[in-house]
Symmetry: C2
Subunit: 216 residues, 2 copies
DNA sequence: GGAACCCGATCGAGCGCTCGTTCAGGTTGA
DNA sequence: TCAACCTGAACGAGCGCTCGATCGGGTTCC
């Protein structure tokens, strides 16, 4: 199995690969829960060890530093995002509909994983250079995915987009508004957000006015 | 002078109000510089004291906790933003042009104050409930400002916006893409960003297609 | 079969250190 | 003289991480 760019191995004392996998899972669960609730710095390694039912020493047989736990958490989050995203949009031919589907799925994911997205934006600077690079790489593939849709739509004459990469970044970023500005969006439903953002973006980039989408 | 909502006083040992003001200024400068470079948690109070030429004890005569320094920094940032914003857009009658000006000025501010905006998004959760409330309040007035433009434009028949508040939040948020996704936007100029975002948003919310803006 | 040995996962007390905060004493100016 | 301000050594809580000890189970050898 080829490893993605974000998959630099974490040094471990323990040898058994299958066991490492299981333990890393436990550590992820505990890490995500605690980091989300208290933040990276306020969470102690001891707490994480306790939360996953391991001794501190044991925990440190599966990681080298506290930072590794954050990396582990990030990896799993992003992997799951990528998988869901691809599944929800593959096979759709019409760029406009595909973009709509991509937006909708991203917003649904971001809705279900609020804590994770928040963590991603707030604590990523706790990662070192190497960890950050991994995040960047994954993000770039994400953006590239949106960008491809934009390119296809532009070639088909449906979209009028001067800077596809820039716009892809913006669109993906905009989806995070639901998580990062949640406190100022109470009262709205996920459906309203999806509709509003989809309308804004599709109108914003359409070569002609996409009336059929508004009517439907 | 009436104090804004964010202006709950910080407890100090020192009495002289004018001196407090001056010292708080020094502390802000040092805090912004160091927090931006190293983050809140990695910056020590000692470093801040040194950077503003005060002894640690002296510093603690002007604040009660480290958190107070962050509050202080945030306050100043937001105050300056608000002032610039209002100045740049007041008096513009046409909603479309006013929105354009507001976007442009916000992006310019966010360009000049990258570190500050990043700090705002990354470290605000280090603040306690009270400090956060203050931030929220200021942000709401900001958003309200955009919302007003949207409302005026909608009444004038220029914009077609179903959820003005939601959209105002989105627009303001979108401006931060330039700071929060900077690493993925290298190579673009501020001017390109301004143009792309303005086009996206104005097209996105316009009742009719605003061709004149594109031609000009 | 079972004694002797080995391997590697587990454990948690505690080391070494950082960092926010305090306080007793010094300095200054009116 | 005394209030206001300044100073930095000292404090101690809390943290990440290490390391020697333990133990269950597999393997070897008689």
């Amino acid at each position: 199995m080829p490893k993605s760019l974000a998959q630099q191995d974490i040094e471990t004392i323990v040898k058994d690969q299958e066991l490492i996998g299981r333990r890393h899972m436990q550590i992820c669960d505990a890490g995500l829960k605690l980091f989300s609730r208290k933040g990276f710095h306020r969470t102690t390694v001891r707490e994480i060890a306790e939360a996953c039912g391991l001794g501190i020493g044991t925990l440190y047989s599966y990681i080298k530093t506290k930072e590794d736990i954050l990396s582990l958490v990030y990896r799993r989050i992003l992997e799951s995002f990528e998988a869901r995203m691809l599944e929800a949009t593959q096979g759709i031919q019409d760029p406009r509909l595909q973009l709509k589907a991509a937006l909708e799925e991203t917003l649904k994911i971001y809705d279900e994983c609020q804590d994770a997205v928040l963590l991603l934006y707030q604590e990523s600077h706790a990662l070192g250079r190497q960890g950050l690079q991994g995040l960047f790489d994954v993000d770039r593939t994400y953006v590239g995915f949106f960008r491809e849709i934009l390119d296809r739509g532009t070639r088909a004459g449906q979209f009028a987009v001067k800077e596809p990469h820039l716009l892809a970044v913006c669109i993906l970023f905009l989806c995070a508004v639901w998580d990062l500005k949640r406190w100022n969006l109470q009262g709205y439903t996920l459906e309203t957000i999806i509709e509003s953002l989809t309308t804004l973006i599709l109108n914003g980039i359409s070569a002609d006015r996409p009336m059929e989408l508004q009517r439907q």
